[in-house]
């Protein structure tokens, strides 16, 4: 996934570099996200205490918002493409990761459910390549690379049986890592200055990990690496 993104991003950059007409573009993109990537993991909370955290990937969707500021270059590739490049700042609502906990890493002791939330923000360089074929809806592709910040927090445990005793909870933790996105969609020009788009974007949000619990002597806590997000986007751009 990483290599195609670099190639796509490089192509977008080079397209913009050869453009002849410059305009500024600002965009606002609300979206609807859902994440995946959580995997069953077995952790040693203490040297002799092992628990398995299963993954339930039936996660709920959540909103996101993206702000884009950049340059637009028209008449690329024999007047067939429009290129955009700029800074993209995005924040996503609370992704919820959840599953079950097996004491002793044994499914016979499937005694708890757990959940925690991940809040994602990112700063990236984003490029967009839009068709310019005179169609009512022009296709586009996009890509970005940058740095993301994943804050894992609000870890909770609920017993499934009454004799189960909840262990100390993992603490919140913020992790930064390399991120990238790739997207496709359709864009329509509404007027000389306004354009609207609808699209799909796939994102690698990088790593997220909770911090160890109070009293824990090992340094293991539930983590996801990488955490993937998929997004349906509605965008509005102003060209000036």
């Amino acid at each position: 996934m990483f290599r195609p993104t670099i190639v796509l991003f490089g192509f977008l950059l080079s397209s913009a570099a050869f453009a002849t007409e410059d305009q500024y573009v600002v965009g606002l993109t609300p979206g609807w996200d859902w994440v995946s990537g959580n995997k069953t993991q077995t952790l040693n909370l203490e040297p002799d205490v092992q628990k398995t955290y299963t993954a339930n990937n039936n996660t709920k969707s959540f909103p996101s918002l993206e702000f884009f500021l950049g340059w637009q270059k028209a008449h690329l590739l024999k007047h067939k493409l429009i290129g955009q490049i700029g800074v993209d700042i995005a924040a996503a609502g609370n992704a919820k990761l959840k599953g079950n906990i097996w004491d002793e890493a044994d499914p016979a002791f499937n005694d708890f459910t757990y959940s925690y939330q991940v809040q994602h923000t990112q700063v990236a360089i984003k490029g967009r390549l839009i068709g310019d074929c005179g169609l009512m809806f022009e296709p586009y592709i996009s890509g970005s690379i940058g740095v993301g910040f994943n804050r894992a927090y609000n870890f909770t445990i609920n017993p499934l049986i009454s004799p189960a005793v909840v262990a100390p909870l993992f603490h919140s933790n913020t992790t930064s890592s390399f991120i990238y996105t790739i997207g496709i969609g359709l864009q329509k020009s509404l007027s000389q200055h306004f354009q609207a788009a609808i699209g799909y974007e796939f994102a690698n949000w990088g790593k997220t990990q909770l911090s160890r619990a109070t009293g824990q002597t090992t340094n293991q806590a539930p983590s996801v690496n990488p955490l993937y997000a998929q997004q349906i986007q509605l965008s509005l751009y102003y060209i000036f």
Binding site: L45, E46, D48, V49, K51, D103, E104, D106, P107, A108, F109, N110, D111, L160, I161, S162, P163, A164, V165, A167, P168, A213, G215, Q216
Partner: protein, 433 residues
């Protein structure tokens, strides 16, 4: 094909049951007969126990998370502290609840059993613990009200010449933590305390004597029982005191039947200068009681099936009236309710408890007598708690004591149940203190 479908369905069901049928790593189940929910007076202790089983595949060193007011009892086959359990192995976690140390908010939950933190650190490791089911967890409340102070019940074990004492829970009425507290007595039936509550007396019918014992005010235990002296006793079977505690009265079943009145040494409790009171109404006088002001004596005449109501003035007991009350059949015991409104007569012949009103017209005579509940059998008398809300009825046939609710308006006994107290041998007299 159909068989394959059935097999696949069964395998799916098995898989799902394995996945979702969670169980605790350590099962903690009350031992049969153990109670885990208590409402205790602040001066009581109780015990309870759980069976702890290691359900994991790993040998574990386990320990209990400390609970204020609860101590683990080790030894005698119980779990040690900490204790080691191999996979599938069990031990009994025995606990003592000391109500005086229980927080005012009570105890709600536990015991929690955890693995220890490390081989050289026996502190509980919170990362692997279990507890009992909700309905089996400890639920302990402590009463702080003076009216619900916990009393001890003292039971005269006539057939083995001892005295048992038990905690009488004011909330449930049940007798718990029973043990023998005095030995070496002799055919005792009538027992009681002096008004100051410092000395315990036993009427020893078999040795024609009265014993006096010291009372430990904090534990309720008796000790140092010795002959109290006095003379003229003939099958004595009652202990009654003047309100100021200077005179002890006992009824004598033997001979021509009489009531002895002895002076009491305020310091030693020893008896002296006993006076024998006779009355033509006395007949095999099997028990007696005084009213609160000490002006009237109620004497049970076992042979005549009557109760004598006599005037009392210092050591003189006379002017007896045996015509009041009815329904008596070999009356064995007389107990006056704390409010002085009712008399309970235990009848050896009919094995019934008769409750009578005590007329409040100055005569103190008995009226409106009727049989009430209470599984009385043998000899002895009913004991009442300080509030007059619970009655304890001895049963020598069953070696048991029953507890009944008292309706204070009419004195009726109801809802009689076994008190759960144990260790009684021919229980006769019952006194609460």
């Amino acid at each position: 094909m159909k068989q394959y479908k059935i097999i696949i369905a069964c395998m799916l069901m098995l898989a799902s049951s394995v996945l979702y049928a969670g169980q605790p790593p350590f099962s903690i189940i009350p031992v049969a007969g153990s109670t885990t929910s208590f409402l205790l007076p602040g001066n009581f202790t109780e015990t309870t126990s759980y069976q702890v089983t290691n359900q994991t595949k790993t040998k574990r060193i386990l320990t209990m998370v400390p609970i204020t007011g609860i101590n683990q009892v080790t030894g005698s086959g119980n779990c040690a502290n900490p204790f080691i359990l191999s996979p599938g192995q069990s031990c009994t976690l025995a606990l003592t609840i000391n109500a005086s140390q229980v927080p005012a908010t009570g105890i709600n939950g536990g015991p929690v059993i955890c693995k220890t933190k490390a081989a050289n650190n026996n502190a509980p490791d919170p990362f692997l613990c279990s507890q009992p089911d909700v309905e089996s967890r400890l639920a302990i409340s402590v009463t702080t009200s003076l009216v619900t102070v916990g009393q001890y019940a003292y039971i005269a074990n006539q057939f083995d010449n001892t005295v048992s004492f038990c905690q009488a829970n004011p909330a449930t009425g049940l007798l718990t933590q029973c043990s023998v507290t005095a030995t070496g007595l002799s055919g005792l039936e009538g027992i009681g305390f002096n008004p100051a509550g410092t000395l315990f007396y036993s009427a020893n019918a078999s040795s024609n004597s009265i014993s006096v014992c010291q009372l430990n005010q904090s534990t309720g235990a008796l000790s140092g029982c010795i002959d109290a002296g006095g003379s003229g006793f003939n099958l004595p079977n009652a202990i009654a005191f003047s309100p100021d505690g200077t005179i002890l009265y006992t009824s004598n079943l033997g001979g021509s039947a009489s009531v002895s009145a002895c002076l009491v040494n305020a310091t030693s409790g020893q008896l002296s200068a006993c006076v024998t009171n006779n009355s033509p109404t006395f007949s095999a006088s099997a028990d007696m009681a005084l009213n609160a002001s000490g002006t009237l004596a109620y004497v049970a005449n076992r042979s005549a099936n009557t109760i004598s109501v006599c005037n009392v003035s210092a050591q003189v007991v006379n002017s007896c009236n045996d015509l009041s009350g009815s329904g008596f059949n070999e009356p064995e015991g007389v107990t006056i309710s704390p409010d002085g409104l009712h008399a309970y007569i235990a009848n050896a012949g009919s094995k019934q408890i008769i409750v009578c009103d005590i007329l409040q017209d100055g005569t103190g005579l008995l009226a409106n007598c009727s049989a009430t509940n209470g599984a009385f059998d043998g000899t002895g008398n009913v004991g009442l708690n300080n509030l007059g809300t619970l009655a304890y009825v001895p049963n020598q046939l069953l070696n048991a004591v029953f507890v009944c609710n008292v309706t204070k308006v009419n004195g009726e006994l109801s809802s009689c149940l076994p008190s759960t107290g144990t260790g009684f041998v021919g229980p006769a007299g019952v006194v609460l203190h």
